[in-house]
């Protein structure tokens, strides 16, 4: 497993995502409230590119007529069939036992640290003074 620098933190504003290609894989990197999460850019159901999905919250109910709306900005609805995935884990909400999107550890690193290595920066150029999103793939 190698680490890849794929974006500056400023490239991916809160609530948005950026698609990067690392070792031939399309990976979508999401910014959820300042934390970054990365997973394969394909829905395990029928293959839609998840980067086009809607970022929503989680609405649940204990009984008809009541609801609880939580985790705003943490759930991704597939752009085709609307399957919901937890952006933090890639896990499917409707079929958590069997279905999830392959995810990759993402972290924020200071440019000054990155230029020391051993990171692979060929995906993205690095300068000392910025913060970067680093994926382990």
């Amino acid at each position: 497993m190698a680490r890849y620098v794929v974006a500056t933190t400023g490239d991916i504003p809160v609530g948005t995502n950026k698609v990067v290609t690392v070792r031939g894989r399309e990976i979508a990197v999401f910014n959820v409230k300042g934390a970054f999460y990365a997973f394969l850019n394909k829905c395990p159901h029928e293959g839609a590119r998840l980067c086009h999905g809607a970022v929503v919250g989680l609405v649940r109910s204990d009984e008809p007529g009541t609801f609880e709306y939580t985790r705003q900005g943490e759930i991704l609805r597939c752009p085709w069939h609307g399957w919901e995935f937890d952006i933090r884990t890639g896990q499917s909400w409707v079929d958590p036992e069997n279905t999830w999107v392959k995810n990759y550890p993402a972290s924020i690193e200071r440019g000054g640290k990155l230029v020391e290595g051993p990171y692979k920066a060929e995906v993205f150029p690095v300068s000392v003074e910025e913060d970067y999103v680093v994926l382990e793939v």
Partner: protein, 367 residues
């Protein structure tokens, strides 16, 4: 885990040609269609608007799961509506999925549910000319559907006569929720014309008829309304059989689009049972209902069912007949089925050829 199934839209090429029996084109601007109407009806449209059984203009009676009922990645780069841009449709669907032919299903303008019959006829004519000029002529892979003013059978027949035999049109277009059940005699002139020209009739699920879409009243939710396409389809098949339409015109071919198919065997079993007991009520029916279903009806697959035991779908196809199943994508709508991943079980090369291409080529006479 399903991660082993991961696949990306467009990552694997589709090897063999596909016929897609359900593609929805939209005008980039309503004026593209209105321009084909006589000035009297253009002005009517501007002044009075379209009769539409929905609470707000440009809305649906039920909220949909996605803007414009569409895949969120189906908006063309020019920002126009999904399905309105031919170059983008080619790139995102026709070329990507190796679509050899696509059958257009025109849902806009609610032609069939207009109460003003003359306006309805003007819209139908305009939509047909628009399909030809904007889609079928520039892109010969796309075949049109003859839109008709269903509630005015005389005008509907005139529209059929205008286009029958034109190589750009593959079928007559109807929606299932009419003023009366589809087999009633008021609609017979349409079936007589279809029979005379040997044109299939495509019945696209949905439509906004005056009646509740379930047998039990108006649904509350989209998830409740969406499956009612299957209920409408059961009602129309039953009506066409018991009214004797299929005994009178034995060459009629109906394509039931986007209404599911898993319920088809159960309907056949139930109707056969009742026919054995109640035959004398409908003496004009001489063939078993299931035999009529086998002979006269084709079914498109999208949105495909996802049974927990995939072989159950295979057995359903066995009952319906493998030569009666047609692949459809519903592009650009949100419940689109990708031709590579729509079926949960392995198809033999022969089965694959039938479902994805050959059945439709032979039904519509495509070449």
């Amino acid at each position: 885990m399903n991660e082993t199934l991961v696949r990306t839209a467009g990552a694997t090429p589709v090897k063999d040609g596909v016929v897609d029996c359900d593609i929805h084109p939209l005008p980039a601007r309503p004026d593209d269609v209105l321009a084909y109407m006589p000035e009297r009806w253009q002005e009517h449209h501007r002044v009075y608007g379209s009769h539409f059984r929905a609470p707000f203009r440009e809305s649906s009676p039920w909220p949909r799961a996605a803007p414009a009922i569409s895949r969120r990645d189906a908006w063309p780069p020019n920002g126009n509506m999904p399905g309105s841009d031919l170059p983008f449709m080619r790139e995102q669907h026709l070329d990507l999925h190796n679509i050899e032919f696509g059958i257009l299903q025109v849902l806009g303008f609610a032609t069939g549910s207009q109460r003003n019959l003359d306006y309805s006829a003007a819209i139908a004519s305009a939509l047909n000319q628009w399909q030809l000029d904007y889609w079928c002529n520039p892109e010969p892979r796309l075949k049109g559907s003859i839109v008709i003013p269903t509630e005015d059978p005389e005008a509907a027949v005139a529209e059929i006569e205008r286009w029958a035999g034109h190589p750009a049109f593959a079928q007559i277009f109807m929606t299932p929720r009419l003023t009366e059940p589809m087999g009633r005699r008021r609609y017979w002139p349409i079936y007589e014309a279809a029979s005379r020209h040997n044109l299939p009739i495509g019945i696209h699920g949905g439509g906004h008829g005056a009646h509740a879409t379930t047998g039990g009243g108006w649904p509350s939710y989209y998830i409740e309304e969406h499956p009612t396409a299957g209920q409408s389809a059961q009602a129309l098949i039953t009506s066409l059989i018991v009214e004797g339409v299929l005994e009178r015109w034995t060459n009629l071919r109906f394509v039931v689009v986007e209404a599911g198919f898993a319920w088809v065997p159960a309907l056949g079993w139930r109707l056969d049972k009742h026919w054995r007991r109640l035959r004398s009520e409908v003496p004009h029916i001489e063939r078993l209902p299931s035999e009529q279903m086998h002979q006269h009806f084709w079914f498109t697959t999208q949105p495909v069912d996802e049974p927990e035991r995939p072989d159950d779908m295979r057995r359903t196809f066995d009952w319906i007949g493998w030569d009666r199943i047609l692949y459809a994508s519903d592009y650009p709508h949100w419940d689109f089925d990708d031709p590579r991943y729509a079926f949960p079980f392995r198809l033999s090369p022969e089965e694959r050829a039938m479902l994805f291409r050959d059945n439709a080529v032979s039904l519509f006479g495509l070449a």
